[in-house]
């Protein structure tokens, strides 16, 4: 019963985050919403593990927490630099040269 309540609350939050990802005026709003969605997914998997009584599923929550973080950082790098192959310093030098 208590797990159902928690799962429902997390699902509502995920819905609100998804709505912000669809509406979001800037790309950063969308990334923020997807980051929040991912964190709530980790919590939902953890609650679902208790809801179904199969606590092995917690391993998936653990992996998802790591993948979510790396994914968000990778998307941020892509948005900021436009590619995956340059390092941050080169881009800053280009910006300074343009100034």
């Amino acid at each position: 019963m208590m797990f159902t309540a928690a799962a429902l609350a997390i699902l509502i939050t995920m819905g609100l985050a998804l709505l912000r990802a669809l509406l979001g005026p800037t790309i950063y709003d969308r990334i923020l919403a997807i980051n929040m969605f991912g964190t709530k997914t980790v919590l939902l998997i953890a609650v679902f593990a208790f809801l179904s009584g199969r606590t092995d599923i917690l391993d998936i929550a653990l992996v998802y927490a790591l993948i979510n973080f790396i994914g968000v950082v990778a998307v941020l790098k892509l948005v900021e630099q436009g590619n995956f192959y340059t390092s941050g310093e080169e881009v800053e030098q280009e910006v300074k040269a343009e100034e």
């Binding site: 208590m2 797990f3 309540a5 928690a6 429902l8 609350a9 997390i10 509502i12 939050t13 819905g15 609100l16 985050a17 709505l19 912000r20 005026p25 800037t26 950063y28 709003d29 990334i31 923020l32 919403a33 980051n35 929040m36 964190t39 709530k40 980790v42 919590l43 953890a46 609650v47 208790f50 606590t55 917690l58 391993d59 929550a61 653990l62 927490a65 790591l66 979510n68 973080f69 968000v72 950082v73 941020l76 948005v79 900021e80």
Partner: protein, 106 residues
């Protein structure tokens, strides 16, 4: 019985904080205030829900895994928030200030 009650309180207040954060990212006017709403609830909502689950499992491998999830979220969610704010500033987004509110509508 007491553990059951504490678990209820932790899970329900964690869920409520999550919903408040979800409302926050819709009601706040610009990106940086939304980041504040999402960042704060990411931390406490996750902590309370994981503590509520941990109370149900007792001390075992399950609660150890929950603690690991908690530690990862504890470190990665502020880092992700910081990276987001940094990228937004670098990408030319500026916080909406009170003094130039009329000049730049949200």
């Amino acid at each position: 019985m007491i553990i059951e009650l504490l678990s209820w309180i932790a899970l329900v207040s964690g869920g409520l904080l999550g919903i408040i954060g979800g409302i926050g990212i819709h009601r706040f006017p610009d990106f940086f205030t939304r980041l504040h709403a999402a960042g704060i609830t990411d931390t406490l909502c996750a902590a309370l829900i994981l503590v509520g689950l941990g109370l149900q499992s007792g001390i075992s491998l399950v609660s150890f895994k929950l603690a690991l999830v908690f530690i990862f979220l504890w470190f990665t969610s502020p880092t992700a928030s910081h990276a987001l704010a940094n990228a937004a500033l670098h990408g030319g987004l500026r916080p909406q200030l009170d003094e130039n509110k009329d000049a730049s509508p949200s």
